[in-house]
C-alpha cells in the first residue's frame, strides 16, 4: 500500500524512499535472521532427544548416556536383539498393534460416521437432547473412567482365559472397546456433514434412495477429507496408547507395542541400547504416517477446536 502511494510521485521522494527501503530491508533481514536463530534453537530442543536416541541405538558399546552428535560406532546388534525377541516377543507385539489399530480405527470412524448422520441431516425427536448430552459428556471429567471401565471389562468376561484363540479375540476387544465411541469424532463428522447441501440429500430421497445408501453414496464421499484426518488422528492415538492395555491385560503376549516397550525397559534393564532400538521402532510408523498425512493432521486438530 505504501509502495503504491509513493511510486505515484516518484521524482520528489525517491531518494528518501530508496533509503527507507534499504533500512527496511536491513531491518527485515535482521529480524528474519533472529527468527531463524530462535526457530533452529527450538527445533534442536524438540528433535535432539529423538536424534540422540537414534544414534545411541546404533552404538555397539561405549558411554551410553553421553551427549553426542555422532554415534561412536555403528552396528545393528541392538536391533537384532529386539527382533530376536528373547525378552519380549517383538513381532507378536507389532502384530498386536496392527490388529488393535485396524480394529480401533475402522470401528471408531465407522460408528462416528454413522451416528453423526442423523444428528446433522435428519429430523427426529430427541435430536438436540442427544447432541447436548454428548457435549456435556465431553466436558465432564471422568476420573473414575479407568476404574469403572476395568470393572466393566471384567464383568463382561473379556479377561477370562479359556482357550488361546478366544482369549486373543476377547482381549483385543477389551483393549479396543472403551475408545470406540469418540465424541470428538462425532463432532468433527457432524460438522463436515453440515456442509453437505440438503438439496442433494432430498433429491436422493425423492428418487427413493434409502438412508443407508444416501449415507454411503453422498455423505461419506463428501466428508472424505475430514474422515481421513480423523482416521489418522485415531491411528496415532491407538498406536500410542499403552496405559489401558498395560493395566488390564493379564497376557503380556497380547500387549500393543507401546505397552510392550515399557515391559522391555523393565526386563531389559541390562541393555538400554536394545530398548532404545525398540523405541525407535515404535516411533517409526507414526513418523511415516505423519509425513504423509501432516496436512490432514493439522486440519483435523483445527477442526476439533473450531468445532
Amino acid at each position: 500500500m505504501l509502495k503504491e502511494a509513493v511510486s505515484r510521485q516518484p521524482s520528489a521522494i525517491s531518494p528518501t524512499y530508496a533509503e527507507l527501503r534499504a533500512r527496511r530491508r536491513r531491518k527485515d533481514l535482521l529480524a528474519n535472521t533472529l527468527a531463524y536463530g530462535v526457530l533452529v534453537l527450538i527445533a534442536l530442543i524438540m528433535l535432539y532427544p529423538f536424534y540422540w536416541t537414534l544414534i545411541t541405538s546404533f552404538e555397539p558399546t561405549g558411554d551410553i548416556y553421553r551427549a553426542k552428535l555422532w554415534p561412536s560406532g555403528f552396528s545393528l546388534r541392538n536391533y537384532a536383539e529386539v527382533f530376536r525377541g528373547t525378552t519380549v516377543p517383538f513381532w507378536r507385539l507389532v502384530l498386536n498393534s496392527v490388529i488393535i489399530c485396524t480394529l480401533g480405527v475402522t470401528l471408531t470412524v465407522t460408528l462416528a460416521a454413522l451416528a453423526a448422520y442423523p444428528l446433522a441431516k435428519m429430523r427426529f425427536p430427541g435430536r438436540d437432547l442427544i447432541f447436548y448430552a454428548i457435549l456435556v459428556l465431553m466436558v465432564l471429567p471422568n476420573e473414575a473412567g479407568l476404574i469403572v471401565n476395568y470393572i466393566t471389562t471384567i464383568k463382561l468376561g473379556l479377561l477370562q482365559q479359556t482357550n488361546p484363540v478366544l482369549d486373543a479375540v476377547r482381549q483385543y476387544s477389551a483393549v479396543v472397546l472403551p475408545g470406540i465411541a469418540s465424541i470428538v469424532g462425532l463432532f468433527l463428522l457432524r460438522q463436515a456433514y453440515l456442509g453437505v447441501p440438503i438439496e442433494l440429500i432430498e433429491a436422493a430421497r425423492i428418487d427413493g434412495a434409502r438412508e443407508l445408501t444416501i449415507w454411503r453414496r453422498i455423505m461419506l464421499p463428501l466428508a472424505l477429507p475430514t474422515i481421513v484426518a480423523f482416521a489418522i488422528l485415531e491411528f496415532v492415538a491407538y498406536w500410542n496408547s499403552f496405559l489401558w492395555a498395560r493395566i488390564m491385560l493379564p497376557d503380556k503376549e497380547l500387549m500393543p507395542l507401546s505397552a510392550g516397550l515399557l515391559e522391555l525397559s523393565g526386563t531389559f534393564s541390562t541393555n538400554s541400547r536394545a530398548v532404545m532400538a525398540g523405541a525407535v521402532l515404535t516411533i517409526l510408523p507414526i513418523l511415516v504416517i505423519f509425513a504423509f498425512g501432516q496436512r490432514y493432521f493439522m486440519k483435523g486438530i483445527e477442526g476439533a477446536v473450531k468445532g
Partner: protein
C-alpha cells in the same frame, strides 16, 4: 459449535420446509438405528463410569464382593492419608506448567506464523513430540536425564552444578517431569494458536500498523483479544491435564523419589490397581474431578468466557 442444530433447522426452515425428511415413526427409528452402536458404547464406557464411579466413591468395593455402602468413610480415610495430600499438592503444583506452556506456545505460534521460507519444516518438527507415545517420550527423557546424560551436560555447560539424575533428586524430580510435559505439549498448543492467529487475519493487524501502532500495541490490542477464545480452550485443556497428570509420572518416576512426584491420580491408580481398594480410589478420583471442574470455571472467568471483544 458455530451452528447449533436448532439454528440450523430454523435457517433451513426459511428455505424449504425443514431440514431432512418428515418426522415419522419410521424415520425416527432409522435415525436411532444409525446412532445405536455409538450410543451403546458411549453409555457403557462414558456415561456409566460417571455415575457408577460416583457411587463407588461412597462404597467399599473389591470387585469380588458387591459394593458395600460406607457413606463418607472413604473421604475420612483420604483426609487422614498424608500420601493423598502430598499427591494432591503435587498435582496442584503441576499447574505451574500451564502459564509457561501457554506463554511459550503463543510465542512459538507467532514465530511460525511468519511467512518465512521453510517454516513448514519447523512447524512439523515442533509437532513430532506431540504424536509420540508417552511410553516412548518418558523413556527417552529418563535416559536424557541420566547422571552422565545430555541434560546434565547442558547444565554443566551453563555453569550449573549437575550431580546425578534430576529425576532421582526429590527437589528437582517434579520439575524435571514438568519439563517433559512442556516439551511434549508446546507443539499441540502451537497448532491451536496458529489456527487462532490465522482466524484473526493480517488485515486488522496491518490496519493498526498503518494507524501508527507499535508492534507491542498491536499485540496487546489486536492479537491478544483476538486469541481470547483460543486461550480459553488451551488453558482449560492444559490446566485440566495438569491436575490429572499421570502418564509421565507412571513411565518416568512411579511417584518417586521419596514421593516427590506422587500425583493425585497416581494415588488413585495405585489404590485401585495395586491395593484393589476401588471405592477409595473412586473417592480420590471424584475429588480430582471436582477440582478440575473448579479450575475449569476459574479459567472461564479469567478469560471472560473466551469471548473475543476485538
Amino acid at each position: 459449535m458455530t451452528t447449533t442444530p436448532r439454528r440450523e433447522s430454523r435457517r433451513a426452515g426459511h428455505v424449504r420446509g425443514g431440514q431432512g425428511a418428515r418426522v415419522t415413526v419410521r424415520n425416527t427409528l432409522i435415525a436411532y438405528a444409525f446412532m445405536l452402536p455409538f450410543l451403546a458404547l458411549l453409555v457403557l464406557y462414558h456415561t456409566w463410569p460417571v455415575f457408577f464411579g460416583t457411587y463407588l466413591a461412597f462404597t467399599k468395593y473389591n470387585i469380588i464382593n458387591p459394593p458395600e455402602w460406607v457413606g463418607l468413610e472413604n473421604f475420612r480415610v483420604l483426609a487422614a492419608d498424608s500420601q493423598f495430600w502430598s499427591g494432591l499438592k503435587n498435582s496442584l503444583k503441576y499447574i505451574l506448567v500451564v502459564p509457561v506452556i501457554q506463554f511459550l506456545s503463543i510465542a512459538v505460534a507467532m514465530l511460525v506464523n511468519r511467512p518465512l521460507r521453510g517454516i513448514g519444516f519447523f512447524r512439523t518438527a515442533y509437532y513430532v513430540p506431540v504424536v509420540t507415545s508417552f511410553a516412548v517420550v518418558g523413556l527417552i527423557w529418563t535416559w536424557m536425564y541420566q547422571q552422565d546424560g545430555p541434560v546434565n551436560a547442558v547444565l554443566r555447560a551453563l555453569g550449573l552444578e549437575a550431580r546425578g539424575s534430576l529425576l532421582n533428586n526429590p527437589v528437582t524430580a517434579l520439575y524435571a517431569v514438568m519439563f517433559v510435559t512442556l516439551w511434549k505439549g508446546i507443539g499441540y498448543y502451537m497448532v491451536l494458536y496458529l489456527a487462532g492467529l490465522q482466524a484473526i487475519g493480517r488485515e486488522l493487524e496491518e490496519a493498526a500498523v498503518i494507524d501508527g501502532a507499535t508492534r507491542w500495541q498491536v499485540f496487546v490490542n489486536v492479537t491478544l483479544p483476538g486469541l481470547r477464545p483460543t486461550i480459553l480452550v488451551c488453558s482449560l485443556l492444559s490446566t485440566i491435564s495438569a491436575i490429572k497428570v499421570f502418564e509421565e509420572i507412571y513411565v518416568m518416576t512411579q511417584g518417586g523419589p521419596a514421593g516427590s512426584t506422587y500425583s493425585a491420580l497416581f494415588f488413585t491408580f495405585s489404590r485401585a490397581f495395586i491395593d484393589f481398594q476401588y471405592g477409595l480410589a473412586a473417592a480420590a478420583g471424584l475429588i480430582v474431578a471436582v477440582i478440575s471442574i473448579f479450575f475449569g470455571l476459574i479459567n472461564f472467568k479469567l478469560t471472560r468466557g473466551g469471548k473475543a471483544d476485538a
